[in-house]
């Protein structure tokens, strides 16, 4: 997966993964962890759909159902979608801007381990008295100390820790794109995936910090008898939804913008055309990011904040339709007249467009504050956001998986299996969620575990469940494809299977540890394609071949995150019958965490150099591989 210098080869695989600061390996870690969480939350969705398949089902109890739906939402958003996007961002942002690594390789690893331990902490809740059961939004007073059990403690601390990791990674990506671009890579020559990731990272910086504050308040309320949200001592329950959605709405854009970026990478390659309206796309991305922070109240229309407030937020919400529309038309115009190749990646990317429009249209419907009282808390809302999340983000991710897999693993995924997967997924997806619009409009509320027969809901729920099973089959097909393609892979890896346009396709496969032996000169948007047309198809170097400076691996990120995990678990132990004073555990965890940070600050680590001879040998090896093809 990564062509390594002799220095790294000495490490065992496990020790290498635990200590790596290489953005490509961290990306693989994100990919694996994200896939596992995705599988877990997907299984929960299947269980939910089994329960709702027939009226008055007793497959799971109401309590278990609440836990399942809360964990499904929480994991999918924080621990599946985010890391899967981060996997691709980590791998391809440095490659696309012609950098050797991210700005802070150490922080990159730290971000991953925080996310990982946060996710583990949240998942441990199943073994200690039940998962969180107040929905992914955890509205007070339902999530307060009076009504919710220990599961919410795991929610608060697990998300706090994993959110911290997300924040660190966001800062890292921003700095990487500001300071590490190759010569000639001006801001308006950055691939659109980088641009959307940049705006996403900005949203993370301004969105995850309010979430951290909100979770801290909820933690203080639950564990130290704070009075923020309880009316009896002057508190106010409406503050929580405000804080949550000030984070929560940008979160939607945090997830969907990189997916937009992926689509914008895939469509030009398989249409063999430059992305239509590149500058407008960049502008639209920025506007979406900006407006994303001004619409949070549309989640709270029924909280009675007054007609003026509701009208302002309704109009701002509808305004987001404008930049999104710009994007939709630009994708269509890119496809228009192109030399199309319908690979699996292109199927996902092009079917993303109409699916996302459907989700957008229902979004505009929900933005109309007077009518929203009709839709509120019905399956219409469920259908709407699944069109955005599955039809938008997951289709983008699936497309990106097929598109970038050869660069990451050296061989393409099987196209026949891929197309089967796509069609089963696509049909299953619409079966599941289209019908939920109608279910919602005829009155089925969301978050219910049973319903009575003969209300006209039975057949539609059955169809919806069948669709969910089809999506499950599709994801299993993807896993089979991964194994099958690995077994059938050609002897020599492929560098540029799709006739790519951006810089990542200019690297060797497997990508050498240092990415580029010589940092390339960028002469245009779509730099590699420019060289294919106007040059000899190879990037021109900006520097002579020489020693390459690399950061040292470190075990400290793991230790810092482990410390936060121990401290977080210690705090939760306050609500258990623990045999040890919880504060001992908390202090121990904090010591590990801050101690490791101090060690990091104390020891100056200047990294090491891969020598020129070593680089030359690795380049020769890669070129020999290419000739043998």
């Amino acid at each position: 997966m990564v062509r390594e210098a002799a220095h790294t080869l000495k490490k065992s695989l496990l020790w290498d993964l635990l200590t790596t600061v290489d953005h490509k390996k961290i990306a693989i870690l994100y990919l694996i962890a994200g896939t596992l969480f995705f599988g877990k939350a997907g299984l929960m969705a299947i269980l939910i759909r089994i329960q709702l398949m027939i009226p008055e089902n007793t497959f799971v109890t109401g309590q278990t159902y609440n836990e399942l739906l809360s964990m499904h939402g929480t994991i999918m958003l924080f621990l599946a979608a985010t890391p899967l996007l981060f996997a691709f961002m980590n791998y391809f942002i440095p490659l696309q801007i012609g950098a050797r690594d991210v700005a802070f390789p150490f922080l990159n690893a730290l971000g991953f381990w925080f996310f990982f331990f946060g996710g583990i902490l949240l998942s441990l809740s199943w073994f200690f008295g039940g998962a969180p059961d107040a929905g992914w939004t955890a509205y007070v007073p339902l999530s307060s100390r009076d009504y919710a059990g220990i599961g919410l403690d795991f929610y608060v601390l697990g998300l706090q820790i994993s959110g911290f990791g997300t924040l660190i990674s966001g800062i890292n990506f921003i700095v990487t794109m500001i300071t590490m671009r190759a010569p000639g890579m001006t801001l308006l020559r950055m691939p659109l995936f980088c641009w959307t990731s940049f705006i996403t990272s900005m949203l993370i910086v301004f969105g995850f910090t309010p979430l951290a504050a909100g979770l801290a308040l909820l933690m203080l309320d639950r564990m130290f008898d704070g009075q923020f949200f309880l009316a009896a001592a002057g508190g106010n329950a409406v503050i929580w939804p405000h804080i949550f959605w000030i984070f929560g709405h940008p979160e939607v854009y945090i997830l969907v913008l990189p997916a937009f970026g992926m689509i914008s990478e895939i469509i030009p390659v398989f249409s063999k055309k430059r992305l239509f309206g590149y500058t407008a796309m960049v502008f639209a991305t920025i506007v979406i990011g900006f407006l994303g922070f001004m619409v949070w109240v549309h989640h709270m229309f029924t909280l009675n904040l007054g007609p003026i407030t509701n009208s302002i937020f309704a109009i701002l919400t509808m305004l987001i339709g404008v930049p999104t529309g710009i994007k939709i038309f630009n994708w269509l115009f890119t496809i228009w007249g192109g030399k199309l190749r319908f690979t699996t990646a292109m199927l996902c990317a092009s079917s993303f467009v109409p699916t996302f429009v459907l989700g957008g249209v229902t979004g505009i419907m929900l933005a109309m504050s007077p009518v929203t009282h009709l839709y509120h808390d019905t399956y219409f809302v469920v259908a709407h956001f699944h069109y955005i999340i599955l039809g938008g983000i997951v289709l983008g991710l699936l497309g990106a998986t097929y598109y970038w897999y050869p660069k990451m693993f050296g061989h393409c995924l099987n196209e026949t299996l891929g197309k089967w997967m796509f069609w089963i997924f696509y049909i299953g997806f619409h079966l599941t969620f289209f019908i939920q619009h109608i279910l919602g409009l005829i009155g089925m509320p969301r978050r219910v575990n049973v319903y009575l027969a003969d209300q006209g809901w039975d057949g539609m729920n059955l169809i919806s469940s069948i669709g969910a099973f089809m999506q499950g089959v599709a994801i299993i097909l993807l896993l089979i494809n991964v194994i099958y393609s690995a077994k059938k892979r050609p002897n020599h890896p492929v560098d540029d299977p799709w006739d790519g346009r951006a810089l990542e396709w200019a690297t060797h496969t497997p990508v050498p540890e240092y990415n580029f032996a010589q940092v390339p000169q960028v002469r245009s948007l779509d730099p590699l394609f420019y060289e294919k047309i106007h040059g000899d198809g190879k990037m021109k170097p900006t520097e002579p071949l020489g020693d390459i400076h690399m950061p040292n691996g470190s075990f400290l990120p793991f230790m810092i995150a482990l410390g936060s995990f121990i401290a977080g678990f210690g705090l939760i132990m306050k609500h258990m019958d623990a045999w040890i004073n919880p504060y001992i555990v908390v202090v121990l965890g904090l010591l590990v965490m801050f101690g490791s940070m101090a060690v990091r600050s104390w020891k100056e680590d200047h990294g090491y150099h891969i020598t020129k001879e070593n680089v030359e040998a690795m380049e020769r090896e890669a070129l020999a591989d290419e000739r043998n093809r």
């Binding site: 700005a103 802070f104 924040l167 800062i171 890292n172 921003i174 700095v175 500001i178 300071t179 590490m180 910086v205 301004f206 995850f208 910090t209 309010p210 951290a212 504050a213 909100g214 801290a216 308040l217 203080l220 309320d221 130290f224 008898d225 704070g226 009075q227 923020f228 309880l230 009896a232 001592a233 002057g234 508190g235 106010n236 503050i239 405000h242 804080i243 000030i246 400076h549 801050f594 101090a598 600050s601 104390w602 100056e604 200047h606």
Partner: protein
């Protein structure tokens, strides 16, 4: 990549961002601080929403003692000034002077922290526990979050001062001291807002 900068004729004009690593830290820290702004803003918003929710407990006007808060403000503002003097010295490669002013900054910070702890203890004696009312919870969490930042900053600068006691100014430690001073200014600015929003508005009724 500090090895690419020639230091044989003394330090460059901006030792804190002469290397790529320093420049990255410089940009990254500003981004981090902008995130911190939103986090504090959330705590400020919560405080503003809940400050009248006293639930029969002590109110702001009964508690706040302006002379004490004034002294605390002056101490913290002065410590910000001394950190500026230290950084100016750093840019002129005057290591001893920088160290001296950094230590003064540190001790001013400790003094501020001492007053803050004293203040909290007084309030608790007066009957304002953390769980007394929504006002109490939001007050303690906002001012306490600021205090926690002060504690972290003090630990940070102490570690740097001990670690680099004899090192002189290098391209590796210059960014570290510079980042600390940025952080310290940020803490100071937050305190100015706390002084206005919490204390002045608390006494003036606002």
């Amino acid at each position: 990549m500090s090895e690419t900068v020639d230091v044989s004729k003394g330090l460059p004009a901006h030792p804190e961002r002469a290397t790529l690593e320093g420049k990255n830290k410089f940009v990254g820290f500003w981004v981090f601080l902008s995130g911190e702004v939103t986090m504090f803003a959330t705590f400020f918003g919560t405080y503003l929403g809940l400050r009248n929710g006293t639930a029969g407990g002590p109110e702001a006007a009964d508690l706040f003692h302006m002379p004490l808060v004034f002294i605390m403000t002056m101490i913290l503002l002065t410590s910000s000034l001394t950190s500026v003097i230290a950084i100016t010295a750093m840019k002129k490669n005057q290591f001893k002077k920088m160290k001296l002013w950094m230590w003064i900054t540190f001790f001013l910070g400790v003094a501020f922290l001492g007053f803050e702890i004293y203040e909290f203890v007084e309030y608790v004696h007066y009957g304002l526990g953390f769980s007394t009312s929504a006002f109490a919870s939001s007050f303690y969490s906002l001012v306490g979050l600021h205090g926690a930042h002060v504690v972290f900053g003090l630990g940070w600068v102490l570690l740097l001062l001990i670690r680099y006691n004899r090192a002189g100014i290098t391209l590796t430690n210059a960014p570290k001291f510079y980042m600390f001073s940025l952080y310290w200014h940020f803490i100071d600015v937050v305190w100015v807002f706390i002084f206005t929003v919490v204390y002045l508005m608390g006494i003036g009724g606002g």
